[in-house]
Amino acid sequence: MIGTGILKGMAVTARNFVGSYFDKERLITVQYPEERNPLPENYRNFPFLVYDGDDPQAGLRCVACKICEKECPPQCIYIVKSEDKKPDYMGKPQFYPKIFDIDVSVCMSCQICVEVCPFEAIKMDKEFELSRRERFDALLMRKDDLAKSNDYYRRISPTDAAQVDAKLAAAAEAAAKRKAAAPAASKPATPAASPAPTRASS
């Protein structure tokens, strides 16, 4: 009979309309600025630089090896390596990035920089409310904007951060053992206790 198809369609619409009040499956509207869908742990938006300790500049894990700059497919990272070495938060002299810029107006959130980084220094952030009225300065992330603490990283992605901490602690322990095994005479100024395990537990 002509019209049954249309009536059936109307029934579907009615079922959806009524169902949306009772059925969570029918995904009701999220009232965005007030209520938010929880972001999944794996969510990624733009990269940031992890630092240990309290000082954002001294604690940066980045040693300006420029691997991410080279591997970044859209070429949105710009690094200038320092000429001198500065002590990092553990007191070990390291190269550091004099300039570390990420142009987030180019970045495509592919996280290849995270995958290639050998120092666990760059990670993906979850911040997405970055709308700006100006493009040139506001969307160019400088080193100061990018540096975020390890505690922040633990907060936004606890599972990954725990893995990274464990890995770094293991590496530090291995390094300490190697140092201890080496003749102590060659390096008299060895730091007494390895601080890495305390960091992992903090």
């Binding site: 949105c76 710009y78 142009d103 180019v106």
Partner: protein
């Protein structure tokens, strides 16, 4: 499916005068291909499509490949008599391959569900005689893909029903997929400067006045 050697022998029997070379592919994929000469390409393609055993009725992919002038160094171990003694000596031969543009067709059979058979045709050079026979009359799926090769590589396909630019605008003059194409210099704001990007474009286009200090040149030329 029969081997490429068998197909080659059967083509040569069926299409008199056709010159077929087997291009071996050393990679792990082992997808070897047949190079067909331009005069007989249409006949060979028609035969491949209509032969009851092959029935390659589905031309999946048509690709243009740009090869610049290159020299291939081949090192072959040759037995030579040196000082009255037979020795194995590495002999390096250099072969100059002039630049050309190649069109690669990947053929499958929907009837027999086998494939791919890959055929390649190449132009004689990259500039004046960048011409190839069109295989669109045999497989219609080549129509847009050959137009794309014409657009991006500048290969003229003889016998193509509607050879126009497809992706770029009609006024455009370059062939951007060629290896020696240089894109216009319009990098004004590059906060993450990778100098090769900037350098690459510079020599080919006149620098734009706003960025390269042309104003100061004008100022300097003023009688002071």
């Amino acid at each position: 499916m029969e081997s490429l050697e068998e197909i080659k022998a059967r083509i040569e029997a069926a299409v008199p005068g056709a010159k077929i070379d087997i291009v071996t592919n050393g990679g792990p994929s082992q997808q070897h291909s047949l190079r067909v000469d331009n005069e007989h390409a249409c006949d060979v393609a028609k035969w491949l499509r209509d032969d009851p055993a092959l029935r390659l009725d589905f031309c999946s992919n048509v690709t243009g490949v740009d090869w610049l002038d290159r020299t291939v160094k081949k090192t072959v171990k040759v037995k030579k008599v040196v000082d009255g003694e037979e020795k194995e000596v590495n002999e390096t031969t250099e072969e100059k391959i002039p630049g050309h543009i190649e069109a690669v067709y990947h053929l499958y059979s929907m009837t027999h569900k086998h494939g791919p058979v890959i055929i390649r045709i190449r132009t004689s050079d990259r500039v004046e005689n960048a011409c190839l026979p069109s295989l669109t009359p045999i497989w219609r799926s080549a129509e847009f893909q050959e137009r794309e090769i014409f657009d991006l590589y500048g290969v003229k396909f003889d016998g193509h029903p509607d050879l126009r630019r497809i992706l770029m605008w009609d006024e455009f003059e370059d062939y951007p997929m060629r290896k020696d194409y240089r894109e216009p210099d319009d990098y004004e704001y590059e906060p993450t400067p990778h100098d090769d990007v900037l350098e690459r474009a510079k020599p080919y286009y006149t620098p734009r006045p706003q960025i390269d200090g042309a104003e100061s040149i004008v100022e300097g030329s003023k009688p002071t």
